[in-house]
């Protein structure tokens, strides 16, 4: 089945979980430090599609701060 990568908010290490757990409101369990956390609290979650694309691979993760937005044209 498809999986997603998730970074532990406590120790910063990354592991992966079944996509089913992506859509459920359940706490994930870091295999390295044992902390339980919600996906929403992870600093980095990578799913298939955009998250795994080569063009979207940006150090620190892709977010609004990564996207360049040109200034509005002044008349």
């Amino acid at each position: 089945m498809d999986i997603f990568n998730v970074q532990c908010p406590a120790c910063g290490r990354e592991y992966y979980a079944d996509m089913l757990l992506y859509s459920l409101r359940v706490e994930l369990h870091c295999p390295y430090c044992g902390v339980f956390f919600y996906r929403e609290d992870s600093p980095r979650v990578v799913t298939g599609g955009a998250g795994a694309s080569a063009v979207a691979r940006v150090a620190g993760g892709l977010g609004p701060q990564t996207i360049y937005r040109p200034p509005e044209q002044e008349d």
Partner: protein, 462 residues
């Protein structure tokens, strides 16, 4: 008495001493140390059973338990467990089929005569941290047991299955169930709002553990099947918690009694599996442990799930697949699943009598087990265990547009890392046999009569 694990260890020490090594130095299984020893041996191409005689529990304290690893890592050890002295695949598969068809009703012994009832911790006295539990691969979600789980269905039949179980806390374990018999027992109980009582056997004679991999029909009692495989009736005794409502193996080394909880789930894993990959963290079921008991210095069988011994522990499945393929096409001569290049690949050899037989044999094999995804069928002149010969047949007897069939929408193996959907898979059959309906070249060989008379010594001397 039914045969027990210590009988088998003695037999192994006598008949195949090179197949057993003892580790006397203290080992911390939860810190990957026992797994690292097995891994180091495997990297050297060595597969002895490894008896860790001084291990620590989850609290880091010395444990009275011992851990036995690599129990199933060679054909010779599996054969000795089944009363056969061989290291060859086909005799072993035939032996498994012979034993699994026998079936012997279990024999009940009173609890006071059951060797497994040497000591007891029940209710709040249960503390799973007192067990030495192994962490095997780096990303494992915690320490995991690799036990045999015994359960009774609503008709009173017993199922015996291999299930991984992750330590959660003093009285709770996560259990992973594939959608097979134990899962169906639990689903029936949960539909009625009931928990499913189980006995978790952490060590018994290897033949009992192998019963957990038999592909028996749902209606067959697997305590009876275990007796057949062990060659003597399985001794059973009433459980501490449920009495005769759940009978447990009386000669086991250590047993946990517990309930798979209805209406509860947990996150479990990641876990390194037989596929050679660490499978993802996933949703699983929760077991609440009611009691634990065992012999004075119990032996816990640990199976390194990512290593050869796990694959070999599947030999009863391979035997069942062989039987089903041979029932479909009597000309099936050989099989190689274990060692065929991956846990989902199978190679069959057959003496083809008509076109279409390779496809029929392959479909019988695929339908026998959801472990099988790809089947290569070769002629009987090709040894299915010799990958070079199989690749030669593939190179020289296959035209891809004619001889490869893709099957869609099969029930797959949920642990297959290539699956996109939870369980739906595809399959592939490669017919690498020579055609019978047109002339086909012969192997290039020296005439057999001349070959057999050659004495190399006469030609190469000096």
């Amino acid at each position: 008495m039914s045969p027990c694990l210590q009988d088998w260890l003695e037999l192994l020490a006598q008949q195949a001493p090179a197949e057993l090594v003892r580790v006397k130095r203290r080992v911390h299984p939860v810190r990957f140390q026992s797994a690292a020893v097995v891994d180091a041996l495997e990297r050297l191409g060595r597969y002895p059973a490894v008896l860790f005689e001084d291990v620590t529990d989850l609290r880091g304290q010395p444990s009275p338990c011992r851990i036995l690893s690599n129990t199933f890592a060679s054909f010779r050890k599996v054969a000795l467990a089944l009363g056969l002295d061989s290291d060859k695949r086909l005799p072993l598969l035939e032996r498994i089929l012979e034993l699994s068809e026998r079936g012997l009703p279990p024999r009940e012994v009173p609890p006071e005569q059951a060797l497994v009832r040497g000591w007891l911790a029940a209710g709040d006295q249960v503390d799973l941290r007192r067990l030495p539990i192994v962490r095997h691969t780096e990303m494992d979600g915690g320490p995991f047991l690799t036990p045999i789980v015994c359960a009774r269905d609503q008709q009173g039949r017993y199922n015996v299955s291999w299930n991984r179980m992750q330590y959660l806390d003093r009285r709770h374990l996560a259990i992973y169930m594939s959608p097979r018999h134990l899962w169906s027992y639990f689903a029936a109980a949960e539909d009625q709002g009931q928990d499913l009582p189980i006995a978790v056997v952490l060590g018994h004679h290897p033949a009992f553990h192998l019963t957990g991999a038999l592909l028996t029909p749902l209606h067959r009692d697997e305590y009876e099947a275990a007796g057949g495989v062990m060659g003597q009736p399985l001794c059973i005794t009433p459980s501490h918690t449920w009495g005769r409502e759940l009978m447990v193996p009386a000669e086991a080394e250590l047993v946990l009694e517990g309930r798979i909880l209805a209406g509860r789930r947990c996150v479990e894993g990641p876990f390194g599996e037989f596929t050679g990959y660490t499978g993802p963290q996933r949703l699983s079921w929760v077991v609440e442990v009611e009691a634990m008991y065992g012999r004075p210095a119990p032996l816990i069988i640990d199976v390194f799930p990512c290593a050869t011994e796990h694959i070999n522990a599947h030999l009863p499945i391979e035997a069942s697949i062989f039987q089903r393929a041979r029932q479909a096409v009597p000309g099936v001569k050989g099989i190689c699943w274990v060692g065929s290049g991956g846990p989902f690949n199978l190679i069959l050899s057959l003496a083809k009598k008509t076109e279409g037989e390779p496809m029929r044999a392959a479909m019988a094999a695929i339908s026998a087990s959801n472990f099988i995804k790809h089947v290569i069928v070769v002629d009987a002149d090709v040894d299915p265990e010799d990958k070079a010969q199989v690749m030669w047949a593939l190179a020289s007897r296959v035209q891809a547009d004619q001889d490869i069939t893709i099957l869609k929408n099969l029930q797959g193996q949920v642990l297959d890392p290539s699956l996109r959907q939870e369980i739906k898979s595809s399959g592939m059959i490669i017919d690498a046999t020579r055609p019978l309906d047109r002339p086909f070249p012969r192997r290039g060989e020296v005439p057999a009569a001349v070959r057999e008379q050659v004495d190399l010594g006469r030609y190469l001397e000096g």
